[in-house]
């Protein structure tokens, strides 16, 4: 603050605040400047650094969300397939049972009654 004009007659408090602001900006800039390499590489590619970082970040986030969702869908599809297969098996067994347990033709009825009367095990089962 070298010039003498109305801003130089800043009150002490304001002067102190602006001084701290300046020192803070200088400290921050010095730290940031230590991390950059001005003049070490082409300027043209640097302008895309921030957008590129955001784009990569967005892709990663998208992948982080999409992969579990995809896995969950695959798992659900497999479960549905298992349920359908189980139902089909059950239906098949039911059909087989129906086929096996259908009533014998009338002409064979005397034969079945004969088996029932001869076989004590069968009789016991039928009585139960």
């Amino acid at each position: 603050m070298k010039e003498s004009f109305e801003f130089e007659s800043l009150d002490k408090e304001l002067e102190g605040v602006l001084g701290r602001f300046r020192d803070s900006a200088h400290a921050w800039s010095a730290q940031e400047y230590a991390q950059v390499s001005i003049g070490a590489s082409g300027a043209s590619s640097r302008g895309w650094n921030a957008p590129l970082r955001w784009a990569v970040g967005a892709c990663l986030m998208l992948a982080a969300v999409a992969i579990p969702v995809h896995r969950e869908r695959v798992r659900q599809a497999r479960q549905a397939q298992v349920v359908i297969a189980t139902q089909q098996d059950a239906q098949l067994l039911e059909d087989v049972d129906k086929d096996v347990s259908r009533q014998v033709p009338a002409s064979m009825s005397p034969l079945t009654s004969l088996i029932a009367s001869d076989d004590p095990g069968f009789r016991a089962e039928s009585e139960q």
Binding site: L14, S24, A25, H26, W28, Y33, V36, I38, G39, G47
Partner: protein, 205 residues
Amino acid sequence: VAAQVNPASTRSSTLAMEHSLTITAMPQASATSSVQEEFDEIFLRYRSQVFRFLLSLLRDRDTAETLTQECFLRAFRAWPNFRQESNPLTWLMRIAVNLTRDHWRNRKLQFWKRAASVEISEVSDWLPGKVASPEQRALARQQVEAVWKVVEELSPRQKTVFLLRFVEEMELSEIAEATGLNLGTVKSHLSRGLNAVRTRIGRQS
């Protein structure tokens, strides 16, 4: 005739080396070497200051870095025509100010610009080492944050003037030259900025 970089020059900055092939139509190799040496000195002396101004203006390290590169590239191209009538720093700041105007004008990347800016609260964490006690630190942090908030609310032109004055400590006449404004306008912009700081500090205390 394309200019050649003198490999023996120990002070050649990487920037100058990088763009050496872009300098054309220089009459003599020795003249080129001399121009380059002069510019190297300017580059080494002022690059951190130009970077600091751009960083505080944009609060974005990557953009500040890019614009600093661009500033020195433009300056390097125009260096043979620079007549030393003004301070080299003022001349560089003028280029930097013009670059930031172009940057603000380009609305295509507004989202990225906003997203890339460092938060005021984060910037305000940088305090000078001489602030000793925790109470003093807290107060200083609060005050620095208040000033950054005022700066944030200023128009781009007022912000530029304010930062050139209170961060870069430039003379009013130099600010006028760097911004292309007349002295009265510079004073008026500064006055508005200071009043805003005063009001905010008063409100806080």
